[in-house]
Amino acid sequence: MKLTVNGKVTETEAPALGEFLAEQHVKSPDQVSIELNGRILRREEYGGITLSEGDQIEFFYFMGGGRGTH
Amino acid sequence: MSHTAEPILHIPETVREDVLAYREKVAAFLRGESNPTAFKAYRVPMGIYEQRTDGRFMVRVRLGAGLALPHQLERIAALSRAHGNGVLHVTTRQDIQIHDVPIDDTPDVLEGLLDAGISSRGGGGNTVRNVSACPRAGFCPHERFNVAPHAISVAEYLLQHRSSFNLPRKYKIAFSGCGTDCALASVADLGFFAQIRNGVPGFRVFAGGGLGGNPRGGIVLEEFIPSAEAVEVAEAVRRVFDKNGDRTNKNRARLRYVLNRVGEEEFKRLYREERAALQAEGLPGHPPGIRDLDLRFGPQSSDSAGTAHRVEDGLSHLVWPEKTPDRVTLRLPLPLGDISADDLELIAHLAAKHGLGLVGATQQQELLVYGVRRAELPDALNLLHETIAFASFRKSRPRVVACAGASTCKLGLCLSRGLAAAISAEFDAQDVAGGAEAPVIRISGCPNSCGGHPIGAIGLEGRAQRHNGRLMPVYVVLGGGVVSEDGARLAQPLGTVPAKRIPELLASALKQGATGTEALRRLVAEHAVVPETLPEEFYFDFGADVPFSLAGRGPGECGAGVFDVVQLDIREAASALKSAKTVVDDRVRSEELYRALLAAARSLLVIFGVEVSKEHLIFETFDRELIAPGWVSAGARDVINEALDWRLGGQTKSLAHRAEDIGALVARITDLFGSLDANLKFRLTALAAEPPSATGSNPDQAAARADLSGVTCPMNFVKAKVALEKIPVGAVLEVVLDDGEPIQNVPGSLAEQGHEVLSVAPFEGRHLLRVRRAK
């Protein structure tokens, strides 16, 4: 199945979003916000989303300002 | 020790005659036979200025090359006690001022001075001012040769001509004995630097420098002239000035404006023309000889050579070496240049007893006693202990030089002398050390640089700023000013700091050694930051018991300080208008519109010398000064009435429908401000006097013009755009453009941005572009 992930066409066997996240090494859903086909998903939805051919997925990560010390 | 009473500078016969005629002029004035203006025109070139206190006058006594004999100082002290306030003031141009003299006493003072061989003639007005010289001339181990005799000779020559007292503006000449420029020759109207070329003593000559408004360093007029030609050069430059100086505008009359106007090449050509004429005709009058001061005051036979005497602990900063090892100069730093008559007498006595009988006044407002015998130094210092000012002599502190400031000067914004005293107090409190390496701090109470701030290692320029709607005295701190025989470099502004923070800032800078431009800039930045709320004292100037205000200040040489304050208000009005456009809430919008109206009404009041803070008084004064004379349309009254009604919770519930009127008023005020000239007069015509057609925007009325000759790409395009944005949409602008790149580029660029190019025609060797503003 081909998905467009962050603008790039990506081949995956994962049938659902949960598996796909694991495949993408996203360890905790808290780390990321996901837009699926133009809609921001609520985190509690992640487990119940099945993927379809051609889905557009965008991952948004939390980004700070570049930590300095330590 | 007694020297002959022969004066240093010989007073020319013409000056003597004029001084003796003065008594009758005063009498005629007091009898009411001459009007005050005419009398003032006579009095000021005599070196007599009116003080701020009614009926009291200041007499400025010029000292040739800054040098005076003991009996002359004694005379000055005695005259001050008899006719003035008993306190003398040493100026930054080596004069000594007698203060608080009643007008009836001025003839006695002038004749008393004349009797001692000194005079105040040319101490003020549009005259040849004191010809100054290195304060240590003749004694400084670093000098190339003694320049004092040359300064004196030039002064004696110029003073004998009555034309020297009716110049376009003042003419300041200075002589420096080496490249260090202690005499500030690089920023004088005419400056001479001693040079020795192939064994011949002579001068490198600078011209067209000057502090005051729009300060600048001089240009090199002559790389080298033999010293004997100095008089001829001074006369030639005087003639250039006399013929080309702008007598119609006092504020642009100084020699540097001639230089700025005609350019360096033309200026030099005019000078060479005058010199050629003088060489052909010979110098008129009596060119004085050079009297050898070294012979008179120079190294005597060593009477106690080799005996080293320890200087009393903590007083070594008062002792400067001379060329001869057995003699020293005593240096007495006068606080703010002031010295009591008693102390002055004592110093005269000291000079006669232990020195060579010669005293000098310095550009840093010190007195120097020359040629004190080392062997007698302990006695001399003991004598100093008896002065009232000894407490300040004994402290080695950085020099603080200040202009007279707002207390006696109508132009001043800030009380510069008050600040100077506060700085000195802070230096005492923090024990900040002085010494030869310590930077000189120069303070001017306004942008006119009478305190010499543009050449200060640290300079301070008084300004006014608004903070929380109130006026606050502030100073622009400048750093890096340098004078030298390679030309002057004016100090750069580093930031603006509330006046009340300046003493602490300077003490920190000097204690940390942070006096270099970059280090100072950093400290200034720290002190420049102003929190929302400030202690009450920040709104009071030093030594003032009422809040800081601009009321009563006249138009300055450029009024720059006043301009700043007006600009602040106009900016506030513009920003309130802007936010009124963006806010949705009607109440907030009305508040913003009211704020815009109030700021606009307040903005120009300072130029009428009015400073009010109550809102209804602002509007009242605005009505009187701007609406009634027709500067602002009478319709503004309705707007103000409605605004006040809204403010007071009356019938008017909103000002939103007045947005356009208030916008137009702000625009009119902005235009009026833009049209202010140096005398703080509007160049725009009052509406009442305006023909009706001129107020419309008939596009063919045209004739706004931007002369961009000499302006290169792309600045010409920038300036054309700026000029276009100042005329209404649909109106026509004429632009004068140079041939070549300018005419090839600017019309196309304007068209590209949508404006309508109407025509391009040849015009006085250039091109005249007519363009209609499209949007």
Partner: protein, 271 residues
């Protein structure tokens, strides 16, 4: 406001631009922009806005300059180590352009002071380095209806979003709220390419300038993603999220509150 000849020269390259002109430059001089954070993002933004002649610039930071800052926080120099960041930055800004007024706010923005600080400004730049501050700014700008631009940077990537509160998608539309403590290993997020901060900070300044000029289109309802390694910019379209806890259909956030800071953040921003 009448520009002096010197100002006309200083801003000539702006004035030439058709979309700017004299009127635009005057708008810039009348503009009031607040930069929160005088760090990696705030530095370039502050310097460019100063150079551009933005008349009043506020800068907020409670920190002092630390040696680890200098790799990317270009408003500060080695000689500034230990100095208050706001003063160090203000000094450089005024040195570039003495026309402008810089207001320094040496404080840590919190729920109880942020509304007052931002009240004086027309546009806010979020140049902070921690999530608590980022969401606080987002929320405060929402309640005060102040337009602002968010940016974040991480390793070789950055992102940015401009928010017109009440009109366009906000930070909470995308992320809901800050990650729960521990979910994002913030202590390991220390790595960042220095110049990345410069790119994003300069882009934030661009938004502030466009806003003042009222020219062009702001980066609203779209999140810009920048990847320095493959040098790609992507503009990902967004919509307001009806589930947004702040500006959605059934908001749950009715007032400002301070978010908890992860331990690393605490150490750094509250020395």
């Amino acid at each position: 406001m009448e520009l002096t000849d010197l100002q006309i020269e200083r801003y000539s390259r702006h004035i030439i631009l058709e979309q700017v002109g004299l009127a635009g430059q005057e708008r810039l001089l009348a503009a009031r922009v607040l930069i929160v954070g005088a760090g990696g993002l705030g530095s370039p933004a502050a310097l460019y806005l100063a150079a551009a002649g933005v008349g009043t610039i506020g800068i907020v930071d409670a920190d002092t300059v630390d040696i680890t800052n200098l790799q990317r926080q270009i408003a500060h120099r080695t000689a500034d180590l230990g100095r208050e960041k706001v003063l160090s930055a203000a000094e450089k800004m005024v040195a570039i352009n003495p026309d402008i007024t810089v207001n320094t706010h040496r404080l840590f923005l919190q729920a109880d002071n942020i509304t007052e600080v931002i009240a004086d400004y027309d546009f806010i730049i979020d140049g902070t380095d921690n999530f608590a501050a980022k969401f606080l700014i987002n929320d405060a700008c929402h309640f005060s209806r102040k337009p602002y631009v968010h940016a974040g940077i991480l390793r070789f990537e950055g992102q940015m979003l401009t928010v017109l509160p009440g009109e366009t998608a906000c930070l909470r539309c995308v992320f809901g709220g800050p990650p729960p403590p521990g979910a994002v290993p913030s202590c390991s997020q220390a790595g960042v390419l220095g110049v990345l901060a410069g790119v994003l900070g300069a882009l934030q300044a661009t938004e502030a300038v466009k806003h003042a000029l009222r020219q062009g289109e702001l980066l609203t309802n779209a999140l810009l993603k920048y990847n320095a390694l493959d040098l790609s910019f992507r503009r990902v379209p967004l919509r307001r999220n009806p589930h947004c806890p702040l500006c959605g259909d059934a908001p749950t956030i009715g007032e400002l509150h301070d978010e908890a800071l992860p331990l690393c953040d605490l150490k750094e921003t509250r020395p």
